[in-house]
């Protein structure tokens, strides 16, 4: 049996007229539904209850350094947008988290760990890139060879449900096909939806997903519907223009640590850290001591950090990465080279966020190609 036949056999149909039932069922099942919605001119992920909150008919235009939304009342599609600046990272790994509080028993201090109790999130409308980003994060936060697993993330992940929607339109900044993360979703989600003008083809990839479709008693999708949906996704995938040549990319970058291109990009980069903030896989954090005025209430917090901040590399009384070129190099080589060593996967999923949200329009794909074109050149070191 060809894999596509397997997909067809198990495919169900969710009419758009019944989409509210899905939302209601998720709430009844105890989930907090986080889905795409328009806020302040961008598609973001936020709590939603009603289908009307989904950006139906909205289309985003993304380019290096630019993001615009357009509403098309004739567009029957509900998911014609690509990722906005917010990813699931905000929910699974919140930007600020209290780790522990210090209590005193007769003068003896005690660190009281905050026991994580994340909500049961149902993430709806997650695109292939973001599904993959969660899989990448799993390796960072949980699957550390018995080393350290992050208790908040692990619990939030265990409790959550992921409902993916495969993309049929792309922004100019998308390059998921190069990173193998989309638009098709084969794993990592509980349910995968593929959109037709009036319905969704639904596939379940897990027991959790199966429980939802069983409860909704969805009818099977007709083979033609499945074929039409799959065809649309495949065609779209073929039309994606932005590409990264990932051939031997780890070694390419590691043998070009002194390539003059790092200096060149540093002339444009303003080290604002936007790229790391919007990236769905960037995980670096710093730890802060928070004390009230009395000095009695002390807690330690973990706060999102960025390798573009100068203090990030502060050690032995100095900043190790003084130059912007060394910080950009750290970022790019981490995503596309050393991540493989650390986690057996690239750190990039091709969502294009860092390209769109870079205020000066620096484009990772262009930078990688520039390094490839000048492979082996050495400039003044970073």
């Amino acid at each position: 049996m060809a894999p596509d036949e397997g997909r067809a056999e198990t495919a169900l149909l969710l009419r758009k007229t019944r989409f509210q039932d899905l939302l209601d069922h998720l709430v009844q099942a105890g989930y907090r539904v986080i889905g795409p919605t328009v806020r302040e001119g961008v598609v973001t992920y936020d709590e939603i209850h009603r289908v009307e909150q989904i950006p139906r008919g909205w289309v985003d235009l993304q380019e290096p350094g630019k993001y615009r939304l357009r509403y098309d009342k004739n567009n029957p599609f509900w998911f014609s947008f690509t990722p906005g600046p917010i990813s699931l990272k905000r929910y699974l790994f919140p930007p600020t988290q209290t780790l522990f509080r210090v209590r005193r028993d007769n003068g003896r201090p005690r660190a009281e760990a905050v026991i994580p109790d994340p909500p049961r999130y149902a993430f709806l409308g997650v695109r292939g890139c973001d599904v993959r980003a969660v899989a990448v994060q799993d390796r960072v936060y949980i699957d550390r060879q018995g080393q350290f697993s992050d208790s908040y993330y692990a619990k939030a992940r265990e409790r959550c449900l992921i409902i993916a929607v495969e993309c049929q339109t792309f922004a100019d900044t998308c390059f998921c096909t190069s990173m193998g993360s989309g638009p098709q979703v084969q794993s990592g989600a509980d349910l995968v939806l593929t959109e037709l003008p009036d319905a969704f083809v639904v596939r379940s990839l897990s027991d959790k997903g199966q429980a939802i479709v069983s409860a909704l008693e969805l009818p099977p999708a007709a083979p033609e519907q499945v074929a039409e949906a799959d065809q649309a996704v495949r065609e779209a995938a073929g039309s994606m223009e932005r590409r990264v040549d990932t051939t031997d990319i780890r070694n390419l970058l590691l043998r070009n640590l002194e390539n003059p291109r790092w200096e060149e990009v540093a002339k444009r980069c303003i080290a604002c850290a936007n790229c790391t903030m919007v990236c769905p896989t960037c995980f670096c954090f710093t730890v802060q001591e928070v004390t009230d005025l009395s000095g009695e209430n002390i807690e330690r917090r973990r706060v999102q950090d960025s390798c573009f901040n100068p203090e990030f590399s502060y050690a032995f009384g100095t900043i190790v990465r003084q130059t912007v070129s060394s910080r950009y190099r750290q970022w790019l080589t981490h995503k596309f080279a050393t991540w493989y060593d650390q986690f057996g996967t690239p750190g990039c999923v091709g969502c294009g966020r860092c390209i769109t949200w870079c205020p000066v329009g620096i484009d990772v794909t262009e930078e990688l190609q520039a390094i490839r074109n000048s492979d082996g050149e050495r400039g003044a070191s970073a």
Partner: protein, 300 residues
């Protein structure tokens, strides 16, 4: 604590060069410390103190070269190398701390009976066990002697199994020398080449003056069968490594201990990366051949 009660865990190691890693103190969240008491404080120099703390029950024991995260509530937490060997005492752990900023100032202000937060031990260690049958050259610059001290203590216990054994130690001035009494004792040990140098002498200093690498020609060792442990400022380590390699010590037998900004100590906050390596989890002790491609790149 006896060796047998130490919880040896191989699965925790992400490091190629060293054999076993002790599982760190586990609490509800890996970043949560436990509190213990200071049992002794000794001033070493004008800006450096050694602080002994009671070993917490949950603390599994450590190996030379590993470090702990020490925490002062309301001030902060910093990585500090472990300056004692558990073969000296099972009940207490020493840290030698230089006062440079807010957290280290708070740590050195602690007195006997005060509480301090600790989690650890973390990181890779000096492969003291694999030194048997080798000549051993230990090179320390400044505070770099602190993480090497437990290695020297254990090497001295292994003395009969080693070939030549040398400790080369450089400090800024004679007043900056750590562990002065112990150095005097070590000088009496037979077959232990201990050479000390300072960058700037004083009137009553009759010893060597000059950087620590200038001591290397003064010791006898057989390069091809030498294992070297080096810790100190990066520039000093670069020169020391270069000197040893040029004499024919194989790069995979030279170990260096590196320092970077480090917040979590469990390979997770991202700060301590040097190329693919997390200094906290893969290091701080690295075989030189493993770290060289990254160590030599500026601002990596």
């Amino acid at each position: 604590m006896t060796e047998a009660s130490v919880n040896l865990n191989n699965g925790g190691s992400m490091h190629e060069g060293t054999e076993t890693v002790l599982e760190p103190t586990t609490t509800a969240h890996p970043l949560t410390p436990v509190f213990t008491r200071v049992v002794r404080v000794r001033r070493e120099t004008k800006d450096t103190w050694t602080i002994w703390i009671e070993r917490p029950d949950v603390y599994p024991g450590h190996r030379p070269g590993q470090f702990n995260m020490l925490y002062v509530p309301g001030v902060g937490e910093v990585p500090i190398s472990i300056a004692s060997s558990q073969r000296e005492s099972a009940a207490r752990i020493a840290h030698t701390i230089r006062r440079v900023g807010p957290v280290t100032s708070a740590l050195v202000a602690l007195r006997k009976g005060d509480y301090v937060g600790i989690r650890g031990p973390y990181g890779s260690h000096w492969p003291v066990g694999s030194a048997a049958g080798h000549d051993v050259v230990v090179i320390a610059g400044g505070l770099g002697l602190a993480p090497l001290r437990p290695a020297v203590v254990e090497l001295l216990k292994l003395r009969r199994k080693l070939g030549a054994l040398a400790l080369l130690y450089g400090a800024r001035t004679p007043e900056d020398l750590l562990y002065q009494r112990e150095l005097a004792k070590w000088r009496q040990v037979l077959d232990f080449q201990l050479l000390v140098t300072v960058d700037r002498g004083t009137r009553d200093w009759h010893g060597h003056v000059g950087v620590v690498t200038t001591l290397i020609p003064g010791i006898s060792f057989d390069p091809s069968r030498t294992i070297a442990f080096i810790c100190g400022p990066e520039i000093m380590m670069r020169f020391a490594v270069r000197e040893l390699l040029s004499r024919g010590v194989p790069p995979n037998q030279v170990y260096v201990s590196l320092e970077r900004n480090l917040q979590c100590a469990v390979g997770f906050c991202g700060h301590c990366q040097l190329g693919p390596k997390f200094i906290c989890a893969d290091g701080p002790v690295f075989p030189y051949d493993v770290i060289e491609p990254y160590f030599l790149v500026k601002q990596l």
